[in-house]
């Protein structure tokens, strides 16, 4: 029977949750790296026992950890993230120039085919790649070299590159997203990049339809349709049917179109999940109810999924990297909250149960489906 391994990054360590294919009974391992913030952990699609983890603390900065045995043991690898050349300035919150400074790694994205190759999305926003299992990191500086960098600005969480999506049909194509710059795409394996934000509108920048400056919170893609992208923006849920060339809004009947996470069903490319959050000033679930919304029509028509989720006095957030799906049948859906709960659904969202209720605030969730 297949197994599932859920990798949980929290404010005070990492946890690994495992279950068989029924996904009813869970073993909890951790905390790993106790006391450190674990921004993200992700396993290699080419070797599921190879897992990379981004470990950070205000005292000592960034550490990258690597496991070769599915998270049983770990070794620290390279943590030198040096920008290529003189990094220049981006906009500060008040619009003044501010020097580019490396702070932390938000997201690690292992290559689809090579366990030794992994991408890192960092704050201040840049994309790095390692071809030796995380020992050495090189910036793909064509992204910052696009020329719009001086107009990028931080969101509330910092100026982070948080989303990295590899096109499984085209190894030269990668999508990334930055808060608050927007989405970008390369078609030459990272040498050159261009913004793909046409159709986005953001009232918090001087020109709401500007080429860059949009606070994209997260993006998702189904591997069978790499030209279709879904986006949760600061406000608005968006969709592109042409690899980001243009976007249109699919917020439809959502109670609020603010939020952070977005993900796609493993087997149904038109089934999309979001967790609406009340507003940019009230980062919690509206009406005290924790509701996942599912669209089976690729957007616009959304249904609230509530069975097993608290429907009173619940005021938590679900951060941008804290939702994932497994590839079992039925598709499992998982998310973690700032209140420390990790919820799982073994039936594509129809019903939910908490795997754990009392972790530190959850920063990220990734799921591995194992043979």
């Amino acid at each position: 029977m297949s197994r599932v391994r859920v990798l949980v990054g929290t404010r005070k360590g990492a946890f690994i949750l495992t279950a068989d294919g029924t996904r009813q009974h869970w073993d909890v391992s951790g905390p790993h790296f106790a006391g450190w913030e674990l921004f993200h952990l992700k396993g290699s699609p080419a070797d599921p026992n190879r897992i990379y983890a981004s470990q950070w603390t205000g005292w000592s900065g960034q550490i990258i950890q690597r496991s070769n045995d599915g998270g049983g043991t770990w070794e620290a690898v390279g943590n030198k993230f040096a920008y290529d050349g003189v990094p220049g300035t981006h906009q500060w919150y008040d619009g003044t120039p501010h020097p580019w400074e490396f702070k932390r790694v938000w997201h690690l994205e292992p290559s689809l085919t090579d366990p030794e190759t992994v991408y890192a999305g960092v704050e201040d926003a840049a994309l790095f790649r390692s071809n030796d299992g995380g020992q050495n990191w090189q910036e793909l500086s064509g992204l910052r070299g696009h020329g719009s960098g001086p107009h990028w600005q931080p969101g509330a969480g910092g100026m982070c590159l948080h989303t990295i999506i590899q096109d499984p049909s085209n190894p030269d194509r990668i999508f990334i997203a930055i808060s608050a710059a927007g989405a970008f795409r390369t078609d030459d394996a990272g040498k050159t990049w261009r913004p793909i934000n046409r159709g986005l509108r953001s009232q918090y920048i001087p020109d709401p339809a500007a080429e860059v400056g949009h606070c994209v919170h997260h993006m998702a893609m189904h591997r069978s349709r790499p030209g279709v992208l879904f986006m949760q923006k600061h406000w608005d849920v968006m969709r592109s049917d042409n690899a980001g060339e243009s976007w249109h809004e699919i917020s439809g009947n959502l109670p609020t179109d603010f939020g952070f996470v977005i993900d796609v069903h493993a087997h149904e490319p038109e089934t999309v999940y979001v967790v609406p959050i009340k507003s940019d000033s009230e980062h919690y679930t509206p009406d005290g109810k924790l509701r996942v919304y599912r669209s089976r029509t690729g957007g616009n028509e959304w249904e609230a999924l509530t069975k097993g989720l608290p429907q009173a006095d619940c005021y938590i957030n679900v951060l941008r990297d804290a939702m994932a799906v497994d590839s079992l049948d039925k598709c499992g859906v998982y998310f973690g909250t700032t209140g420390g709960q990790v919820y799982a659904s073994a039936d594509a969202g129809d019903t939910w149960m908490p795997i754990v209720r009392d972790f530190p605030a959850v920063l990220s969730i990734e799921v591995q489906t194992l043979p």
């Binding site: 205000g58 005292w59 960034q62 550490i63 620290a76 943590n79 030198k80 040096a82």
Partner: protein, 98 residues
């Protein structure tokens, strides 16, 4: 022999449970002690000093003999009591920062 005491989060990172003892060639300074420490425990590189600037991370402090050495020059000799091993060099996490 120089004794160095790390804060708990760095002891965990380096997989050690007690203070570190280091043999230093030449004058014992912050730089020579940290160089030796990072050779023995490579995972500490970048976690005490910035990789590029080699400056002390702002949320870490260096104490010894009841004194704050955080703002001493990296190549200034450490106190005799530290150089002789009578007193440890304490690397301490700031009250905030964790």
């Amino acid at each position: 022999m120089i004794r160095v005491e790390l804060p708990p989060h760095l002891r965990g990172l380096a997989h050690i449970t007690r203070e570190v003892e280091l043999d230093i060639q030449g004058v014992a300074t912050q730089r020579s002690v940290l160089d030796a420490l990072e050779i023995r425990y490579p995972m500490l590189r970048g976690a005490i000093r910035d990789h590029i600037s080699q400056k002390r991370r702002p949320f870490l402090r260096f104490f010894a003999c009841g004194e704050d050495l955080s703002h001493e020059q990296p190549d200034a000799p450490l106190p005799d009591a530290v150089a002789s091993g009578a007193e440890p060099l304490l690397i301490v996490g700031a009250i905030a920062g964790g």
